[in-house]
C-alpha cells in the first residue's frame, strides 16, 4: 500500500477533517505539521505541493489531494476500516448538504471571529516589513484579503455582526437537527459529524450564552459523544496550541449558562 502524508495545521477546522477521518479509519499517515501562524503554507516547498497555498493537502503515493471535504470522501472510499458514509443514498445526500453548509456558510463566520480573536493577535506583533512580505506571498487573492484583515484588525463592525448572526442561527439549526437523530446527518457516525466537530468542538466555551446543556442539550450530547471516541482523543492530542486544548471543556459533565471554567 502506498504511504500517506498529510500536511496539516492544528486539529481544527479544515486541517482536522482529514486528520480525524484518517484516524477513524485506522490509516497510518506521516504528519507534516505546517505552522499557519508562521506562514509555512506559503513557503515554496509547500507551494510546490499545493500551489493555492491552502491547508490541508494529502499525498497518497504519487497522488496529491486538496480540499478537505473531498479528501475525507476519498479517505473513506479508498481505505478499509469503518465506513464513514452511510449506505442509504438519501443519508449520503444529507451528509453532503450539512458539510457544505458548514464549509461555506457557517464555517467562514466562525472562522472570521476566530481569526479576529486568535490568529490576528497571534501574528500582529511581528516585524511589519516581514508581515507585509508574508501577505504578498499568498497565492490566492481572497486569502490575501483575509490575512490582511486579520493582521491589521480590519474587520468591519457590519461583517462581524453578520458573522455573529450566522453563528447564533447555525447553533439553533444544529440543535434542531440533532434533536431528530443521534448523529448529524444519519443514524450512524459519519463525515458530517467529523466535519461538524471540527467546527463546533469549543462551542460551549466560545459561545457560552448560546450553547450549553440547558439551551442546546442535543448539541452538547453530540459533541461529548464525538470527543469520547478514541480517534478524536488521539487526534486532538496532536494539537500544539492553546486553541485546540479548549476541547477539554467537553470533559465537564454539565455546562450551564455562565458555568464555564
Amino acid at each position: 500500500m502506498h504511504s500517506v502524508t498529510l500536511y496539516h495545521w492544528e486539529p481544527n477546522a479544515n486541517s482536522g477533517k482529514p486528520m480525524l477521518a484518517l484516524m477513524e479509519k485506522g490509516v497510518a499517515f506521516e504528519s507534516r505539521y505546517l505552522d499557519l501562524l508562521n506562514f509555512d503554507q506559503h513557503q515554496p516547498d509547500y507551494l510546490a505541493i499545493n500551489p493555492q497555498g491552502t491547508i490541508p493537502a494529502m499525498l497518497h503515493g504519487e497522488r496529491v489531494l486538496t480540499e478537505s471535504t473531498a479528501i475525507m470522501e476519498y479517505v473513506d472510499e479508498e481505505f478499509p476500516g469503518p465506513r464513514l458514509m452511510p449506505e442509504d443514498p438519501r443519508d449520503r445526500w444529507r451528509v453532503r448538504w450539512w458539510m457544505k453548509l458548514m464549509d461555506q456558510w457557517l464555517g467562514p463566520s466562525f472562522s472570521m471571529i476566530g481569526w479576529k480573536v486568535f490568529v490576528g493577535p497571534a501574528v500582529r506583533s511581528r516585524d511589519p516589513g516581514e508581515l507585509k512580505a508574508a501577505i504578498e506571498r499568498i497565492p490566492l487573492p481572497e486569502r490575501r484579503v483575509a490575512w490582511r484583515k486579520a493582521i491589521y484588525g480590519q474587520f468591519s463592525q457590519e461583517e462581524l455582526k453578520e458573522s455573529r448572526r450566522r453563528v447564533a442561527l447555525g447553533i439553533r439549526i444544529l440543535e434542531q437537527e440533532l434533536a431528530k437523530r443521534p448523529w448529524l446527518a444519519s443514524d450512524q457516525y459519519s463525515l458530517a459529524d467529523i466535519n461538524g466537530f471540527n467546527l463546533a468542538y469549543a462551542l460551549p466555551l466560545s459561545q457560552p450564552a448560546l450553547s450549553n446543556d440547558e439551551l442546546t442539550p442535543n448539541t452538547l450530547r453530540w459533541l461529548r459523544a464525538i470527543y469520547a471516541r478514541p480517534a478524536t482523543k488521539a487526534c486532538w492530542a496532536m494539537g500544539r496550541t492553546s486553541m485546540v486544548k479548549r476541547v477539554t471543556i467537553l470533559e465537564q459533565p454539565h455546562i450551564g449558562p455562565g458555568q464555564v471554567t
Partner: protein, 249 residues
C-alpha cells in the same frame, strides 16, 4: 418523488439533465424561480430549503424530505437511477469530480448568477421578499431587485468566468469530457457556463476545445431533453439569485 424546477438553466438544468440521464421517474412541477416562487412551497421554511447555499435552485422532495443543492441531488440520482454511472468508479476519480464541482459551485456559480442577474434581472414583489426565510438570501434579492451591483464584484465575477473557462480548456486537452467519461462535472459546469457565452465573450474567445465541449454537452440526449422543457426562447438567459459571493477568505 417530486422535482420543483425552474427554466432549464443553472442548477435546474443540472438536476433535470441528471434525472433524465438516470431514467428516474419523478413528477416535474414547474416553479418560477425568477419571481421567487420557491418561497411559496410548503417546504420553503425547512432549513435544507431556506438555507440552501445554492440559492434559488430546484427542490427534490422524496418521501416528504426536501432535498436541495444540484451537485448533491445529482449524486443521489446517480445512486438510485439506472444506466451509465455519472461519476468515476474509483475513489481518486470521484475525488477529482467532487473537487471540480466544489470549485464550480463555490467560484463559478456565484459569479455566473451575479452576471446573469444583472443582464436578466429576476423580479419578486415586496410581499414575496418578506416570505424569504434566510436573511442573507433576502438581502441578495433586495440588492438585485434594486439594481445594486458593485463594480468590484462585476469585475471579479468576469475574472472567475475567465478562470473557469481556462481550466476547462486545459482539462479538455486530449479528452472529450472533463472526467474522462460524461459525468456530473460536465453537466454542472455546462449548466452554469452556457449562459455566460454572450455575457463574457472574451472568456470563450480562442477556446476551441471549450466551445466544442459546450456543443457536445448540449446535444447529449439527457441535456437536450432537459433543454426541451424551456418555455422561453433562450433558457440560458433565465437567472435567479445564486450562491453568495465568498464573503470571507
Amino acid at each position: 418523488m417530486t422535482l420543483y424546477h425552474g427554466e432549464p438553466n443553472g442548477p435546474s438544468l443540472a438536476v433535470l439533465a441528471t434525472l433524465f440521464a438516470k431514467e428516474v421517474r419523478a413528477e416535474l412541477v414547474r416553479i418560477d424561480l425568477e419571481s421567487g416562487q420557491r418561497h411559496t412551497l410548503p417546504c420553503a421554511q425547512e432549513p435544507q430549503v431556506a438555507m440552501s447555499v445554492e440559492g434559488e435552485g430546484p427542490v427534490l422532495v422524496v418521501e416528504g424530505e426536501a432535498m436541495t443543492d444540484s451537485v448533491f441531488i445529482a449524486c443521489y440520482l446517480d445512486d438510485v437511477g439506472q444506466g451509465a454511472a455519472l461519476r468515476p468508479a474509483d475513489p481518486y476519480g470521484r475525488w477529482e469530480m467532487m473537487r471540480w464541482c466544489r470549485q464550480v459551485t463555490e467560484r463559478t456559480a456565484p459569479a455566473a448568477a451575479y452576471l446573469g442577474c444583472r443582464a436578466h434581472p429576476p423580479k419578486a414583489d415586496a410581499a414575496l421578499l418578506e416570505r424569504i426565510g434566510s436573511v442573507d438570501v433576502r438581502a441578495r434579492w433586495e440588492q438585485i431587485t434594486a439594481g445594486q451591483f458593485s463594480a468590484d464584484r462585476l469585475a471579479d465575477s468576469q475574472t472567475k468566468i475567465l478562470q473557469a473557462v481556462e481550466k476547462i480548456e486545459a482539462r479538455l486537452d486530449a479528452r472529450q469530457w472533463l472526467m474522462g467519461a460524461f459525468s456530473i462535472a460536465d453537466i454542472e459546469s455546462f449548466a452554469w457556463l452556457a449562459g455566460m457565452v454572450p455575457l463574457v465573450p472574451a472568456a470563450f474567445a480562442g477556446k476551441p476545445r471549450t466551445r466544442e465541449w459546450l456543443e457536445r454537452v448540449r446535444v447529449q440526449p439527457a441535456v437536450a431533453q432537459a433543454l426541451s422543457l424551456a418555455r422561453s426562447a433562450d433558457p440560458a438567459a433565465s437567472w435567479s439569485v445564486g450562491p453568495e459571493i465568498n464573503r470571507w477568505g
